[in-house]
Amino acid sequence: MKLLKRVMLTFLLAIGTGFLVFGPRPGQSLPADRVIVEYWEKWTGNEGDAMKRSVADFNDSVGREKGIYVRYLSMSNIDQKTLAACAAGVPPDVAGLIQRQIVQFSALGVLEPLDDLARSHGITADLYKPIYWESCNDQSHLWCLISTPGVVALHYNRGVFRQNAAALRGAGLDPDRPPRTIAELDAYSRVLDTYGPDGSLDRVGHLPMIPGWYLDYTFYWFGGDIFDPSTQRFTLASPQNIACYEWLRSYSLRLGKGPMQKFRGGVGKQFDTPQNPFISEKVAMEQQGPWLAGFIYNLTKRAEPWRPSMSEALVPRSQEGQLPNRRENYRWAAAPFPSAVPGLENVTFVDFDALVIPHGARHPREAFEFIAYVNRQDVMERLCKLHCKNSPLRAVSRDFLEHHPNPYIEVFESLAASPHARALPHVPIWPEAHKELDDAAQSVYLLDAEPREALQRAQDHLQAKIDRFRERERLRNFSNAH
C-alpha cells in the first residue's frame, strides 16, 4: 500500500513537472517598448487567419513606426464577453462586433464615440458607400468603422435553369437570365419545383424561408419599412409590409404547409457543408451574400463523393483568366434580388462586421490607429478579397474587381452603392424587434395568422417596448441630472 502511494505520488509529480516544463506557453512574445492594443475578434478559421494577417502587417509597419502592437484574441460570444469586460472595467481596446449590436450597445453607453478620432485621421463620409457610413452612425455620432461588409443578392443555379430550359421556355420564361421581378421569381420557382415519388418536395425553385437570414428585411423589396426614426414609431403594419407577408404566405399555400415544413426541416440549417440546400441543389434560387462563392469554392477541395456538383468548374480557378468570361466557369450566378415594386431597382440589404472601441478602453488612440489602418483602401481590399466580400469604400481598384474570388463582385459592388441599398433600422431594441418579426413571420408562413394580424400584433408589442425604453431613458437622465 505504501509503495502504491509512493508510485502514485511520483507519477503525479512527474505529470506536473512535465506540464510545467513542456506545457503551453504564451503564443506570442509582446514587445516591451510598444503600447499593447488588445483586439478581441469572433473569427476563427480562414476568416480569422485573414484578419491575423492584417494585424501582423500592421504590427510590422504602422505599429512599428508608432510604437503600437496589436494582440489578436479570437473568441466566441464576443458581444457578451465585451459587455462583461466593460462592466468589470477591463474592456479590450478594440472589439469586433456585428452591425446589429452597434445601435443597442451605443444606446447603452458601451461604445466610445469615434468622431474626433476619425476626423483627426481624415476619415469622413465621402470615403464610404453611403449606406455603410450611415449605418456606422447613430444619434449624430460615429460608433464604429467596418472590418468587412456584406450585401445580399439573388444566387441562382444556372445548371438547374439549363436542365429545365424547355419547361421554362414553355412557361414564357428565359432560362438564360435570372428573374427580374417578384412575379417572375414566383413563375421560375413554380417551374423548378420538383416532387419525389411519394409526393414530397424534392427541390424548390425558391423558398423565402431558406436560408431565412434576411426575412426581417424582406419588406425592403416591397417598398416597405420597419421603423420611422423621425417619429420613433414602428411601421410594420403598412400596406407594403402586408403585401410582403402575403407573398411569404403564398409559398406555403402553393406548396402546402405540411410538405413545405417537412422540406424545410429536411434540408436543415446547414451552411458551410455540402448539405447546404443551395449547394446541394435542393433550392435553385436564394438570397445570399458574396461570401457564398468562397464557401462553394472551398468545397472543391473535398474528396469524392463529398464534393458537390455545384463546386464544379470548367477550368481551375487559376486558369479562368483565359476564359472569355470567367463567370462561365461556374454553375451558379448572382444578380440583384428582384423587387416587387416597378421602378424600384437594385434593392438590397447590407450589413457588416464592425470594429469598435469599448467604453473605458485603456488605449483608444492607439486602438483607432489600427481601425484606421484596416479601413485603408489597400488593406480593406485585401481583407475583403480573403473573406470573399465586397468593399464598403467608395473607391474600388481595378485589381479588386478583376482578381476578386467572386466573379460577380461587380454585382455586389453596384448593389452596395445603390440608392436603394438598405440596412438595419436604428432601433436600440433590435434583438427584441428581431424576435417579434421572427414570430410574426413564422405565424404567417405556418398559416396560423393573417399577415395584417401578425404584423399589427408585432407592431403593438414593439411600440410598447420602445416607448418603455425611451421612458426609462428619460427617467434615468432626469435622476442623473438631479
Binding site: C86, L108, G109, R264, P431, Q442, D448, R468, R476
Partner: protein
C-alpha cells in the same frame, strides 16, 4: 467544550473552500439578483434605475413570459413522469438476474456520458423530417411521420421523448436503491403467494420510495430549468412552441440586455421550483417510507 470548539473550527476550516465558493458564486449573486430585479439594469455602463416592482408588473403583461411558463410546465408534465417511469422500469429490469446484465447496464448508462451538444446534433438528424432515421423507419411500415421538431404540435413531445435518452444516471441511482431492498421481505412475500407484480408494488416500490422521492425532487429542478437541448435544436420554435422559461431568462439577460427584468424572471422561477418542491415534500409524508422510521 474546548474540544467541541476545536472540532467546530476544524470542521469549518475543512469545508471553508466550499463555504467561500458557495458564498461568493451562489449566495452573493442570488442577493444581487434580488436587488437587480427591482431595477432597470443592463449590465453596461448605463446607470441602474430603481423601478420598484416595475419588472414584476411588466412580467404579468408579457405574453411570451406566460407562454414560456406554460411550455415549461407542459414539458415537465410529459418528461417528468415519463422519465421517472422509464428509469424505474429499466432499473427493475436491469436488477433481474439475467445473462449479460453488466452489458445492458453499460448500454443504458452510456448515452448519459455523451455531451449534450453532441446528443442534440444526433437527435436533430434522427428527427429530420425528410432524411431522418425515425421517419425512414416509419415510412418502411407505411406511416408518414410528422415533421417532429419543425411542427409546433409535435415539437414539445419530441423534446420530452428525447429527454429519455439521458435516464442512465437516474437508473444507476435506482439500481443502487434496489440493492437495499431486503431479500428476506421479498422472499416472505413470495412464500405468502404474492405474484411478481404484487411484490414490486407492495414491497419493492415502498422500500424504494426515498430514492424515488430524491429522483422526483431532482427531476422537478432539472425539467423546470431545461435550456441547452431546445436552444440548440429548436431555438424556441416553431412559433415559440418550445420556448422555455430559462430560454426567456437567457434572452432577456444576454440578448436584450434587460438584466433587471431577467433577474425578476429568475426569482419567479426560483419561487415556482420552491413551490413545486415544497408540494412534493408535503405529499411525501403519505408515500415515502423510510426504513429507519424517518
Amino acid at each position: 467544550m474546548r474540544t467541541d470548539l476545536r472540532d467546530l473550527r476544524n470542521g469549518l476550516l475543512f469545508c471553508s473552500p466550499w463555504l467561500v465558493g458557495f458564498s461568493v458564486f451562489t449566495l452573493l449573486p442570488v442577493v444581487i439578483c434580488a436587488r437587480y430585479s427591482l431595477s432597470d439594469y443592463s449590465a453596461t455602463p448605463q446607470p441602474r434605475l430603481f423601478i420598484g416592482a416595475g419588472n414584476y408588473h411588466d412580467l404579468l403583461h408579457d405574453p411570451l413570459f406566460r407562454k414560456s411558463i406554460a411550455n415549461t410546465l407542459y414539458y415537465a408534465a410529459i418528461a417528468l413522469p415519463a422519465g421517472m417511469l422509464v428509469s424505474l422500469g429499466l432499473a427493475l429490469m436491469l436488477n433481474a438476474d439475467i445473462r449479460g446484465r453488466a452489458i445492458y447496464r453499460t448500454v443504458i448508462f452510456l448515452p448519459s456520458l455523451v455531451p449534450t451538444v453532441a446528443t442534440a446534433c444526433v437527435w436533430l438528424w434522427l428527427y429530420n423530417a425528410k432524411y431522418g432515421l425515425i421517419n425512414n423507419l416509419l415510412r418502411s411500415i407505411g406511416i408518414q411521420g410528422p415533421a417532429w421538431i419543425d411542427d409546433r404540435h409535435w415539437a414539445m413531445p419530441s423534446l420530452a421523448l428525447m429527454s429519455l435518452w439521458g435516464v442512465g444516471n437516474t437508473v444507476v441511482i435506482y439500481l443502487a436503491g434496489l440493492q437495499d431492498v431486503p431479500r428476506d421481505v421479498l422472499e416472505a412475500a413470495e412464500i405468502d403467494g404474492a405474484t411478481h407484480w404484487r411484490r414490486i408494488w407492495h414491497v419493492t416500490i415502498p422500500m424504494l420510495s426515498p430514492v424515488i422521492f430524491f429522483n422526483l425532487i431532482m427531476a422537478i429542478i432539472t425539467t423546470l430549468q431545461v435550456l441547452t437541448i431546445p436552444y440548440i435544436m429548436t431555438e424556441g420554435g416553431p412559433e415559440n412552441a418550445t420556448y422555455f422559461f430559462t430560454m426567456a431568462i437567457y434572452d432577456n439577460a444576454f440578448r436584450y440586455l434587460h438584466m433587471g427584468y431577467a433577474s425578476a424572471m429568475a426569482w419567479v422561477q426560483l419561487v415556482l421550483i420552491l413551490g413545486l418542491t415544497g408540494l412534493a415534500f408535503w405529499t411525501s409524508k403519505r408515500w415515502v417510507h423510510y426504513g429507519g422510521g424517518g
